[in-house]
């Protein structure tokens, strides 16, 4: 039996749980825990420059590995600075454990220095939260937090620890809890067999089926099963923004992303389908466009671990609640057992139609211009070539994010890291850092814009301290591109506050932090400079690339329309 203080228990538990890195920032309420960390050898703490970045680093790690990222923030402003990152993880169902310091328990509620009701503030954006009432509870509470964060539909869990819970003079027995039981929490272990069989029969009989998969396939580790089923039945596949990499992006059966900025082919295939197999996707408003006009002839099979996602916006004809990997595996074995395949001629005529939509110009055709100005799309295509399609790509939010989703063809799951649900500018860079820290050998790119990068640019300092040589690909168009695009399309080009005036010299800024900066203004320099940057394995390189300000992201669905209603360029629409 071992006697530890509450603070020591926190650190010791993290070690026993197998946590390698935690991301945080110290403060008064956490000093006992930081003192315990000082002696710890196996758990490494990464000191960020702003707590929001700590949450995004943990989040990037979680998206790349499927395991909970761990954040340590102090009470009051430390906790509130973490809120945006917690909300980001919540919207995208990312496992995360946030340990927040709290004022001593006898001062809670007294408006003490650096006191915030963290449980109250975070309540709508967490999967669950705990406040520690006695130091001896710490191991079990933390185990529950990890279990809840990582199981079922994953999400962030907050553990609020008042300072006195870590008192070094009070020692209690410590045992690592291998398992916890929660009588009120039991995520589905498998889907309903009868429903799964019905779904397979519908797919086999379908004339125009589409497989539409989302982030649930990535976090549910079901990409292999999804690919097997799709290839077995020769199904056209489209992924949501969160689901990219769930099916190989360079495969013939892949139609590209769907939705607001989805491909013409994917959106048309969805609209004309008769059976939609939705897996680990939630019919988000950025996917379905006008719900009343959504896919008028389609029967919908919806597989999700979260019953509340089913029939929320679009009614499912065959709802299946269960883990996507096991449901897909069961579907595969039922297909094998039935031994039938979809009728060849029917499949062929559906594919013929899809190929007509796809045409010869690729899924996302764009005007490459005369080469006098760099197109943002070209940057992503070049990045794809230079990194051989094998980089981890973390993105910020805006036009560059959509270009990164459209033109980088993700062959594997967990490689595309972006804030889909909340759309958090400032997410990309720290998320890339979290990935690089845990995959030091891999190429990690942060695709960003001059707006987003400035929301967490201070983390260049953290990168210097911990040697995190990510490559920042800044699509600098001198404007808040997506805002500007909407202002072009809906507000007669009145650019209200969408300029970025007084931009810093990013090259000098990167150099000031001790990194390498490169400015690219000519198309001919694009590829060589990108190659040079990625060849500098042990240096952070900030690539500031001047791109066409007037470029828009297309296709763009027309609001409240059907899936097929899209602008295809500034002048053409469907």
């Amino acid at each position: 039996m071992e006697l530890l203080s509450g603070a020591e228990m926190v650190v010791r538990f993290l070690r026993d749980e197998g946590v390698k890195y935690i991301y945080g920032y110290p403060g008064g309420a956490l000093l006992h825990i930081y003192d315990a960390l000082f002696k710890e050898k196996e758990v490494t703490h990464i000191l960020v420059r702003h707590e929001q970045a700590a949450t995004h680093m943990a989040d990037g790690y979680a998206r790349a590995t499927g395991k909970a990222g761990v954040v340590l923030v102090t009470s009051g402003p430390g906790a509130t600075n973490a809120i945006t990152g917690i909300a980001t993880a919540y919207m995208d169902s990312i496992p995360m454990v946030v340990i927040s310091g709290q004022v001593p328990s006898n001062m809670v509620g007294s408006d003490a220095f650096q006191e915030t009701d963290m449980i109250g503030v975070s309540r709508p954006i967490v999967k669950h939260s705990f406040i520690v009432k006695h130091p001896s509870e710490i191991p079990e509470v933390l185990k529950k937090a990890f279990y809840i964060a990582e199981s079922g539909r994953p999400g962030p869990v907050v553990v609020d620890i008042p300072k006195d819970m870590g008192d070094p003079s009070q020692k209690y027995e410590y045992v690592y809890p291998k398992k916890v039981k929660l009588r009120s929490y039991s995520p589905a272990q498998r889907g309903h067999s009868g429903q799964i069989r019905k779904a397979v029969e519908m797919l086999l009989a379908a004339k125009r089926p589409v497989l539409y998969s989302g982030g649930g396939v990535i976090m549910g580790r079901a990409a292999a099963q999804l690919t097997e089923l799709a290839q077995m039945l020769n199904l056209p596949v489209t992924n949501t923004l969160m689901g990219l990499g769930g099916y190989p992006g360079n495969d013939r059966q892949f139609l590209g992303m769907l939705g607001m900025h989805g491909s013409y082919t994917a959106n048309l295939a969805m609209h004309h389908s008769d059976v939609i197999l939705a897996i680990g996707a939630r019919f988000d408003d950025r996917v379905v466009n006008g719900p009343a006009k959504f896919c008028p002839n389609a029967k919908i099979i919806h597989v999700d671990i979260d019953p509340a996602s089913i029939s929320k916006t679009i009614k499912a004809d065959v709802p299946i609640v269960g883990p996507v990997d096991s449901v897909l595996a069961e579907m595969i074995s039922i297909v094998k057992e039935i031994g039938a395949m979809p009728q060849k001629e029917v499949v062929a005529s559906w594919w013929k139609q899809i190929e007509e939509w796809r045409g010869t110009r690729g899924l996302f055709p764009y005007d490459k211009g005369d080469g006098s100005i760099i197109k943002p799309q070209t940057v992503i295509e070049t990045l794809y070539e230079v990194t051989k399609g094998d980089a981890y790509v973390a993105s910020d939010v805006g036009q560059h994010q959509m270009f990164a989703a459209q033109y980088y063809r993700y062959a594997k799951p967990n490689r595309w890291i972006n804030s889909g649900g909340l759309g958090t500018m400032g997410f990309g860079f720290p998320a890339a850092m979290g990935v690089k820290l845990n995959f030091p050998e891999a190429d990690v790119a942060c695709i960003t814009g001059e707006g987003s990068i400035q929301m967490n640019i201070q983390e260049m300092s953290t990168c210097m301290q911990y040697d995190l040589p990510v490559k920042i690909v800044n699509l600098n168009n001198g404007a808040l591109g997506m805002v500007r695009q909407w202002q072009d399309m809906q507000y007669s080009s009145r650019y209200s506050h969408s300029y970025m005036e007084s931009l810093p010299d990013f090259v000098k800024l990167a150099e000031a932090y001790g990194h390498v900066g490169m400015r690219i203004t000519e198309l001919k320099d694009l590829k060589p400079k990108l190659e040079e940057a990625f060849a500098l394995k042990d240096r952070l390189v900030f690539l500031d690339i001047a791109v066409d300000t007037s470029e828009h992201v297309y296709p763009m669905q027309i609001r409240d329309g059907a899936m097929r209603d899209m602008w295809l360029s500034k002048t053409e629409r469907t």
Partner: protein, 163 residues
């Protein structure tokens, strides 16, 4: 349609705020709410009434079930059930009114539980509709103060909500 949703909740601090928070967060409507510990002190029984289309009610029950502290849930209005609410009302009672109020109270099987020279305090239990009818019969002009417990209920027959 009006639904009576009853749930077993971990009797822990903060559990109630998650239930209430869910309703405001997702723009659901909550008509009445009542909560108290059960014979098992680790559990509270919470009953709420809400009004909404079937799809909304489905989302409400699904989202309530997702709360970690919700152990079990039943929509009582989906099958035969008993529904009760407690009303305490203070009314002006002087002169001829005193006999009239007493008669009305008897008709509704209420009790006068406190008396002064000018005021009766009446206790009445029943469905919300019955309490509404009683208040209507008494008339708003003589009502000084009302307090209602909110709806609570239980399924008829052998069905029980237990862990």
């Amino acid at each position: 349609m009006r639904h009576i949703i009853s749930l077993l909740l971990e009797n822990e601090p903060g559990a109630l705020s998650r239930v209430v928070g869910l309703f405001s967060q997702r723009n659901y409507n909550i008509e009445t709410l009542t909560v108290a510990p059960t014979e098992d002190p680790t559990l509270s029984r919470l009953t709420l009434t809400t009004i909404g289309q079937d799809e909304v009610i489905e989302q409400i029950t699904k989202n309530l079930n997702k709360l970690i502290e919700v152990v079990k849930l039943v929509d009582l209005s989906e099958s035969a059930h008993i529904e009760r609410e407690l009303l305490l009302v203070k009314v002006k009672a002087t002169g001829a009114q005193r006999a009239e109020i007493k008669r009305t109270t008897d008709i509704f099987r209420g009790q006068i539980v406190d008396v002064t020279s000018s005021v009766y305090t009446i206790q009445l239990t029943g469905t919300s509709d019955k309490l509404d009818s009683f208040l209507h019969a008494i008339g708003t002009s003589s009502i000084l103060e009302t307090v209602r417990s909110g709806v609570t209920g239980i399924a008829r027959g052998d069905k029980v909500l237990t862990i």
